[in-house]
Every structure is written in structure tokens, then in C-alpha cells.
Subunit: 390 residues, 2 copies
């Protein structure tokens, strides 16, 4: 039977996701599949909800994993919170803000858009101006823009949504489990993430959390949620005590998610954030000492995803193919406006490690030198090691 | 690390799904996760598409696995084919037809419904009357009703959709891979299934196939598909040669799906259908010889899911709990109108085996006798063995 094993390369994953998976999570995948209403499975679902509350830092009852990828989580938040005609303000400062915009558009909302520069955070002043001029129901914004590597500061955003009584819809795809996401403290009404980034699980399920106010709003809509599959008023009857059948929950992926969340619990959230930050700083120190440039200014850099400017004259695709073929190393290319202009180097979950920092620096040095672009690897390595030793 | 292994009972799964999983499929789950645009992963996706075409008996290009459960497949077919105001005829003769109705409603279609008796197929005469009185765009119907165990005969349905030029949307959740689904021969425009029934994979992905005509219709809609996540015009750009990022495909589940499809290929579709039929006949022979009654008349029985009437005076939940707790045996209860009235016994994929037939007969005999309802196990076993030996 071994002959039928799917033979795949063992990639070193340092792209935008999926990232590397802990052996215990792989092991959990082989736990026996059982029924979606099996009393033992319902305990698993409850534990998933409980541990996701820990990671989202929330007490929201409607917290669990959507049966789909991170994008299904995005659509769930949009489709549940927004009715046709609702006034919605969407912030677009990257590819995923733009995806949010497209989804909100499909709900036939009255949408306004703040277009921010890709590589910078959204200016809260613009949000305030918009709030002053019109009464919005929902603000949709990306906390950690996976396309640009920008971490949106939340203080002002949170102050404004509170002050103006606007519901807050937050994309935490590249932040949850890697940097602080304080759902309750921030008063977030709907947040979504994915399983395969900082959480450290294979892709296929999407952590989501809805505030009681958001669930209540969904219950009292004039028109039903356009997506039956993602309707939180139906899902909470399965996740909650009623246990009404809605979909056949993927036991396999939820076993893995639970194990990944258990690893987070064991490490401790704050330790985990510190690890992500340290390895990120080491990589940046190395990259800059080598003579390469980061896209984002230091105060707005996302510790989980680094965007490095591709030096003039270097062929993006050629360099990435070389890394993949020669070193089994995956890094991400740019999306949308940043295509061909940046590399996206993920340091998330199990992939956020000292060894990966060093491996990446050596590999990118080699890939660049083959295209005639010399970088100073000795200085880069030394700077990274100093940061790791800090 | 073994201590962290999630300890779960090893259930004998004979409910409506998930069913038991072949060891090779479990093994495939642990293949290393790689990126959604990795050239090696794209080969896996292509193979999934190719082997699903074999199972759907189609040449449709837009054939692959939706990133969600079977219900996401249902919603994908509904949301792509139907625009607000479209005239849609939905056949409801069970719980899943009713789910289709709810989804079509949420598309703001002009919907008409044929309500059929639960436990009988839809009368094609009613479809014809409806087609005669109005010009419909889409007919939505369930091929294999998981809630009733009825297999809808397709000949007349297919004749009518052709004759009246109506698009055909077909639920094949409990038929695909277990009984004939002739997508192209029948002229089906959109079909969906799930991974965890006759296909023999864990739940979490949904095989779907769209005819070229369906994709063309989706492309030329007046309004975009309401679900961005399930929009076939975006998905086909990822599944097809353009390879445009849409979602982070679950490599883990697709490895398992590919292995499950490879097992189907190795067994041969016709052999697989014959196995499902033989084990079904054996179970029915046993059940009837024991003195129990089937819900569905012989000519309309689904070979993959048996609905057995619960004898008068027998407590449904008590009996199923006993089977689960004492024998680790899961069978399904009734849904909707059939709640408390039938048991649903699945014989699909790896769970469709002679040993399971015999085990079920003995276990149900015991569960019933504990509630004071005697059945003739000796006759049941003999009848089943004769059928297995036929």
C-alpha cells in the first residue's frame, strides 16, 4: 500500500500560507472520523470553540470554525452583518481589503470605500471624516494585510467605532495566533481568520467569532442571510446547545485544529507572540544588513509576514522558481499592485523559527547572486544572529 | 507526544455519513502540506478534477472539489445558476429537497415547488405539467434523497428538461460513487456531492461539476453571483489553466480525496456499483426476514442508504444510544417529517461490506429485544447470507 502514498516534495514553507505543520498536528489528522452528532465529536467541537475564544481573547458564544477556508470566514462575516442597502465603510489598502470590497458589493450594500496606499496603514482620520459625514452600520477593515505586510494600529479605529456606534468587522487572517487580537477589548463584532497561518493547522477551516450583538443583528434581519451555508443563525444552533444538524463537520480538520490550538495553549499566547516578533526582527535585521529593503516602515510591520522589495533588475519568478526547485523553499510573490515588486516571506506558527531565518537569508543571497545581484550574507547572518540572541 | 493524541472511539459508521475510511485514505492525510500554487500541488488538483470526471461520467472542464462540505456544493450550484427573478422549479420530497428550496428562496428567484411524498420519488407528470404551464430556467431535484432513501428515476426527468430546454441542477450527495450518475448522458448542468459518503473520504470538500453551458450562463449573468467564495467564474480560473489565486485549497483533504478516487478507479465504477447493490440487497433481505419493514418500495430504494421503519413502541433515541455506547455502531435517525419514524442505515464506500451487514442485523436485533420487540435473527442472517452468496 505504501506504493500508493502520494509522493510530494517536503517543502520549507515560508510563503503567505500554508505554513509548516507540527508533527502532532499531522498525527491528529489520522484520528478516526466519527459522526457530526456523535457525543464524543460534540466535545471536540466545544473544545475547538473554547480554545478559539482563548486565541481571539473573547467570550463570544458564537465562536468556532467555519467549514471552509479563510475566504469563507470573510464571506460569513460580510454576509451575516450586511443587508442590502446597509451603509458600509470598507478600507482598502491591499489585496484583501479589495476582496472585502468585492464581497460587500455583492450584498448590494450602500458602500463607501477608503482607498489607502498599499504598504501603509489606513489613516484613522479618514475613517473619522467618513463617520462624521454619514451614519454607517459597519466598518470593514483588515488588521493584518497579507498582501502588504502592514499591521493596522487598532487604538484609533476602536475609539471611532465605539464613539460613532459602528459595528466592526475585522480580518485577522494573518494576525490571529501570531500577534495580539483583542476581540472583546476592541469591541469587534465579527472577526475571521484561517487555519493555516499563525494557528498552524492545514488549510480548510476558518476560525470565526461573532459578538452577541452581531448574532442578534443577524437574527433580526429584514431579509435572510443570502448564504444558507454561512448563516450564523443556523450555525449557532449546531455549535451551541441545540445541536441542530447544519452541515457535516470535518472531524479530520477539526481534530487537527484542536491539536494546533492545544499547542498554542501549551506555548502560551504571549510567548507565542514574542517568538513571532523575535524571529521577525531577526529576519528583518538580516535582510537589511544584506542590503535589501523592506516595503513597510518599521512601526507598521507585521511580525508574521515580511514584504521585501525585489531589487531592480531581478526576475521575481525566476528567483522563486530557483528557490523552490533547488531548496524546496516556498516564498510568496506579490499580489495585485505589488506583483513582481515584493516577495512575501511568512514567519508563522511552526515556520517561525531561527533555523528558517538563517536558511532564508542564505537561500535568497544565492538566488540573487545567480542573477548578478550581490548581497552581503556575512553581515546579514551576523545581524540575524544578534537579534536571535537578544 | 502520543499522550496528546486525541483519543476517540473507533466507531463502526453506518449512518448517513461520514462513513468508514480506507487506511490508504487516512495515510494520504499525512502527506506534507504544500502551497496552493506549488506546481506539484497543481498536478494533484488536476488529478482530482480528472478522476471526478470519471465518477461523474462527464467531460465538463469545470469539475473539481469545492472548498467546503456537501452543503457548500449545493449552495454553489444554486448560487451560480440562479439569478434574482429567475423562474426555478424545485422538487421537494425530503429534507434535502427542502434545503434546496430554502437556498433558492435566498436567491430571490421566482420559485415554484413540487411537494412530493417523503419516501416516494417525484412524479415526472407533475414536472411536465409545470413545464407546460410556465417557462422555467432551472429544475432543481435530488437524485438520491438522504433523508428518505429514495432513488429518483432519471429517464423521464431527463427527457423533460431536454424537451423543454430547462437547465438541470442535481443533488448527487448520496449517489455519486455508489450508483450510476451519468452527468453528460443525462444533460445535467450542475451537480454536487460530498466527500464522505460513497466517495470514501473524510468530510470537508464537495465534488461539483458544471456544464460549459452553466459556466457560460454564470459568466453572462446580469448581476454577479451573490457568493464570492462559491463563484464558479472565479473558481474555474484557479482550477483551470489560468491559475489565478482564489482560496487556499486544502491540500490535506485533496490528498485524501485523490486517494479515495484512486481506490474507486482501481475497483472500477461498475464493480463498485455492484458491490453497493449486493450489500444493500443482503441487508434488506435480512431486515425483512427478521420482520422489519423498509420505508421505500423495492423499485425506488437507494442502494446506498436504507430507511427502516422503527417498529411501534420502540424508542428511537434509546435504541441508537444503546448501539453507539455498547457496540460503537452509528446509524442515523430520521430527519424532519421522518424523525422518530425511521432509521437510516448507510452502506457506502468502505462501509459497504458483508461484515457490516451481519453486524448490523445482530446489533439491531439485540437493541430491539432489549425494548421487548422480538425479531427473528436466525432468518435474517440466513436471508442476508443467501443474498451475499448470490
Amino acid at each position: 500500500m505504501a506504493a500508493n502514498r502520494i509522493e510530494l516534495p517536503k517543502r520549507k514553507l515560508m510563503g503567505p500560507g500554508p505554513l509548516e505543520i507540527h508533527p502532532r498536528v499531522y498525527q491528529a489528522l489520522t484520528s478516526p472520523v466519527i459522526g457530526y452528532l456523535d457525543p464524543d465529536y460534540l466535545k471536540i467541537l466545544d473544545q475547538v470553540g473554547e480554545k478559539l475564544r482563548m486565541v481571539f481573547q473573547t467570550r463570544n458564544r458564537a465562536t468556532n470554525a467555519m467549514p471552509g477556508t479563510g475566504t469563507s470566514g470573510m464571506e460569513a462575516c460580510v454576509a451575516n452583518l450586511i443587508e442590502p442597502g446597509d451603509k458600509v465603510l470598507v478600507c482598502v489598502h491591499g489585496y484583501f481589503g479589495d476582496r472585502l470590497r468585492q464581497m460587500v458589493e455583492r450584498q448590494d450594500a450602500q458602500m463607501s470605500v477608503i482607498e489607502g496606499e498599499w504598504g501603509k496603514p489606513i489613516d484613522p482620520g479618514e475613517i473619522e471624516s467618513a463617520f462624521k459625514s454619514e451614519a454607517y452600520k459597519v466598518l470593514a477593515i483588515v488588521h493584518a494585510e497579507t498582501s502588504t505586510g502592514v499591521l493596522q494600529p487598532m487604538d484609533e479605529v476602536v475609539r471611532l467605532t465605539r464613539e460613532y456606534g459602528v459595528m466592526l468587522l475585522l480580518d485577522t487572517v494573518t494576525s490571529l495566533g501570531g500577534v495580539e487580537v483583542k476581540m472583546d477589548e476592541w469591541g469587534v463584532d465579527a472577526a475571521y481568520s484561517c487555519s493555516q497561518k499563525c494557528i498552524g493547522c492545514p488549510p480548510g477551516v476558518a476560525p470565526v467569532s461573532f459578538s452577541d450583538r452581531a448574532v442578534e443583528a443577524a437574527r433580526s434581519r429584514k431579509q435572510p442571510v443570502r448564504s444558507w451555508y454561512l448563516d450564523i443563525t443556523l450555525l449557532e444552533k449546531y455549535w451551541g446547545s441545540e445541536r441542530v444538524y447544519h452541515h457535516t463537520s470535518s472531524s479530520t480538520l477539526n481534530y487537527a485544529l484542536l491539536e494546533a490550538l492545544t499547542l498554542i495553549e501549551e506555548e502560551g499566547l504571549q510567548n507565542r507572540f514574542a517568538r513571532h516578533l523575535k524571529n521577525h526582527r531577526a529576519l528583518v535585521a538580516g535582510v537589511e544588513a544584506m542590503g535589501l529593503e523592506m516595503l513597510v516602515s518599521p512601526e507598521h510591520r507585521l511580525p508574521t509576514l515580511n514584504t521585501i522589495r525585489i531589487p531592480q533588475g531581478v526576475d521575481d519568478v525566476k528567483a522563486r522558481s530557483y528557490l523552490l526547485e533547488t531548496f524546496d523553499l516556498e516564498i510568496g510573490g506579490g499580489l495585485g499592485a505589488l506583483k513582481g515588486k515584493v516577495w512575501r516571506v511568512g514567519q508563522m506558527g511552526y515556520s517561525s523559527s531561527a533555523e528558517n531565518v538563517l536558511f532564508f537569508l542564505s537561500a535568497i543571497n544565492r538566488a540573487l547572486s545567480l542573477q548578478g545581484h550581490q548581497t552581503d550574507l556575512a553581515s546579514g547572518t551576523q545581524a540575524a544572529m544578534s537579534a536571535l540572541d537578544a
